[in-house]
């Protein structure tokens, strides 16, 4: 989980830059309210597919996409 959170944060830093709001974005804060637009969220989800080697299913629970922590939780729940 800790490692997945760090890797997701690294993807966000790649997208927004090393000096962006991402440095202040807490793991549990809503990405939408933290300043991640819908377009950026989808770009992050696509980047996660490459980073972690899985595909998002269409029936993913919306709460799994809420924050860095919940995204990491989803990655941890994937079958090995």
């Amino acid at each position: 989980m800790v490692e997945a959170r760090a890797r997701i944060r690294a993807l966000l830093l790649d997208m927004f830059g090393p000096d962006s709001f991402v440095t202040e974005l807490a793991d549990t804060v809503s990405l939408r309210e933290g300043g991640v637009s819908s377009a950026a969220l989808v770009s992050l989800l696509v980047a996660m597919e490459d980073e972690f080697g899985f595909e998002w299913q269409d029936d993913v629970a919306p709460e799994a996409l809420r924050s860095i922590s919940s995204l990491a939780g989803h990655v941890a729940s994937l079958p090995a």
């Binding site: 300043g35 637009s37 819908s38 989808v42 989800l45 696509v46």
Partner: protein
Amino acid sequence: MSLQLTVPEGVAPGAHFQWRPVRPPRGRDEQSAAGRAAVAAALAESGSTDLVVPREPDGRPRFPPGFAGAIAHTDRVAVAVVVPGAEAVGVDIEDAVISPRVARFVLRDRERAALLRPAGAYSARDLFAAKEAAFKALCSLGGGGGLGGPDQFLFWWIELDQTDATLVASYRGVSVPVWVRSEPRLSLAVAIRR
């Protein structure tokens, strides 16, 4: 320079649009300030005496009763739309580059085949904005629409269809027409359910 929006006849009668540039350094505070200024102007133009739009706990803006509206911004511009008497309103402006991969993520095969240029009339950015605008409108239906708020469904679950010249967005049988304006650098989408 004109601050009026050219909207085709019949698309958005009674809709009040207001735009504001986001002031440098164009951070989140400046984006929010531009959004608030646009909302206050749109509400005033609509005849509302209440010009402030607080946020719900889930982040949605709460417009005064009888003045359905929506706000959107990029890091450069903010827009607010108020439609007195409408049931639900959503708006989105997109200036992001929508990659083919992102387009595949948010658009179904059927939507890409029928709606994307050259077969259809829209860019991937237009359709992305259309789904997001429809999402805001459908979320604002809240309990009445039975779809729940932004924590209960995802904007790409919304389906787009073209009926005659009108783009219609729907989710679980609840639909809203969406008007899209495509500019070289940005797409504007407005969903109004009356």
